[in-house]
């Protein structure tokens, strides 16, 4: 039996200034979301295990438990599956688009990393019912304003699409294990690993050329042109058209300096179906936000509607120096009052902060 005072790995306690920073940050971000007409949703902290196992995947990271009736339940490892389930059921007859935001703790059985524990805070938005580029652009703009509102200038949003690589790999008709091995070496941009894999796979010259190029397809508009010279299949080409349209809109809005096209990024949860992005800030070794499109997810809960969204990691954002957090250094100055409780009440009624000195 462990001692009562021990702290289980992966949990943390925020006190005083740390808790104030968390709340100030949370409020600032929520006000951005509300400014784009997103309504808050507060889903339950646990649900049936299947909701997350079918939606999110990553089964080995889910904290699960059994209730008294023998049902398998799980503590939420993320919000997206919960929100998708709600949209597909309770909100099935609501007019689209549906815009929702959430903020709260999630739990994953994983190594604590980059200031993120096993229990960590996520804040994000979900947009349902918008299939085209408009919804994609909308959520990217909300992410951009979130950074700006927090006074973070040096942020970088890396935008890719699962359809670009998906379109290439579809046509190769490789066995599943080989696709897995290919993704593994591309995911870490391992050139020598790729070369030895290509020797085994015996692809044609054109496909080898594509595979060698994929890890380097990161940058501005020219990346899209480069990618166009490599692929002909409809799915990849459509993905490139789509990314180019988004990029052009960002150029017109004078925001393209924050956007990087990244076709070499092939990581992501199984549920992603279109665009996929991760946001980085100079000085932090881990991404601070990620998101994308997951049109298939609501369908898993019975309502076929397109969906796109993102989430920020509050624990990671808190590590950045932010002007927006300056006001959280200390509590506002308080009037000190002896045991005169009536005076304390009067001061409180007049809006003053009081501190009883008993």
């Amino acid at each position: 039996m462990k001692s009562y005072t021990q702290i289980p790995p992966g949990t943390q306690i925020l006190i005083g200034r740390a808790a104030r920073r968390r709340r100030v940050l949370e409020r600032a971000i929520c006000s951005v979301f509300e400014g784009w007409s997103y309504e808050e949703i507060i889903p339950p902290i646990f649900d049936y295990y299947d909701v997350f196992a079918k939606g999110w995947g990553q089964e080995e990271q889910i904290y699960r438990f059994i209730d008294r009736e023998g049902n398998i339940l799980a503590l939420r490892p993320e919000f997206t599956s919960l929100v998708a389930k709600t949209v597909a059921t309770r909100l099935a007859s609501s007019p689209k688009p549906i815009r929702l935001f959430y903020s709260g703790e999630v739990l994953r059985f994983e190594k604590a990393k980059g200031g993120r524990q096993r229990e960590f805070a996520q804040i994000g938005i979900e947009h349902y019912g918008g299939a085209g580029k408009s919804a994609d652009v909308e959520i990217l703009l909300v992410a951009v304003e979130t950074f700006q509102r927090l006074g973070i200038q040096s942020f970088q949003i890396n935008l890719g699409s699962v359809d670009f690589f998906g379109g290439i790999i579809d046509r190769m008709e490789l066995p599943k294990e080989q696709v897995g091995a290919l993704k593994e070496v591309l995911n870490i941009k391992d050139q020598s690993g790729l070369e030895s894999l290509l020797q085994q796979l015996k692809l044609d010259e054109q496909r080898e050329r594509i595979m060698r190029a994929v890890p380097h397809l990161t940058g501005g508009r020219q990346v899209i042109a480069e990618a166009r010279s490599l692929v002909k299949n409809a799915r990849s080409v459509e993905a490139l058209d789509h990314l180019e349209e988004i990029y052009s809109i960002f150029e017109r809005l004078d925001l393209a300096q924050h956007l990087t096209i990244d076709l070499g990024e092939i990581r992501g949860f199984d549920y992603y179906t279109g665009i996929l992005f991760r946001a980085y800030v100079r000085g932090l070794g881990f991404e601070v936000a990620s998101g994308g499109r997951y049109d298939g997810l609501p369908a898993a809960f019975g309502e076929d509607t397109p969906a796109v969204g993102f989430s920020f990691s509050l624990d990671r954002l808190e590590q950045l120096v932010m002007p927006a957090l300056d006001s959280t250094e200390a509590l506002p100055p308080a009037v000190e009052v002896d045991s005169d409780f009536a005076k304390a009440i009067r001061l409180r009624q007049s809006g003053k902060a009081v501190k009883l000195c008993l």
Binding site: K113, Q156, K189, Q191, S192, T218, D262, R282, G285, F286
Partner: protein
Amino acid sequence: MLVIALCKGRFLEPSLDLLQRTGIRFLDDVASSRKLIFDSADSADNLYRVVLVKPADVPTYVEYGAADIGIAGRDVLLETRADVLQPLDLNFGHCKLAVAGPKGTSSVNGSGQPTIRIATKYPNITLDFYNSRGIPVEIIPLSGSIELAPLIGLADRIVDLVETGRTLRENGLEILEVIAESSARLLINRAGYQTKRDEVRRLIQALEKVVAGGVS
């Protein structure tokens, strides 16, 4: 500025050699000094800082972004499972990660016991290797002189890095099966690859040229 984590020990000299051949000059003699942090002699916008750490810690420094770039053996990367980019094989420090044991034995049998006892510095790699074959093993974690373990009955087999095989031979052991080939790799933090893209790319390309040019 880019921060580069290098291993103390046998990787240090070839790592420094590679960096110097890309044109980086250091203010101090990195190999002989007792300092842990070294700055390059370049101009401020083209500055490199080298930090010296234990080989097994290089992937951690890079994964967390304390260093943007690192040089470490593939064995260490496989063992730590660090989530970092690994674009280049630097083509030195070639070794084999292998199961070894007394001559004429096999990697998949112990000494008659149902569970093979394996002494190693690489518990994760060892478990992955045997788990993928469904063979139960007992890991005996050691941090040095691994070859001793089967000689005095502490373990049936070892999993270790083998360079020339001389230590194995002199102790009556031999490679029973190779798990993976290892060599020095360039590691890059995922976020740094994006937020310091131009600086990072420049260094990768310079190193790529040096490596392709043949390392003596």
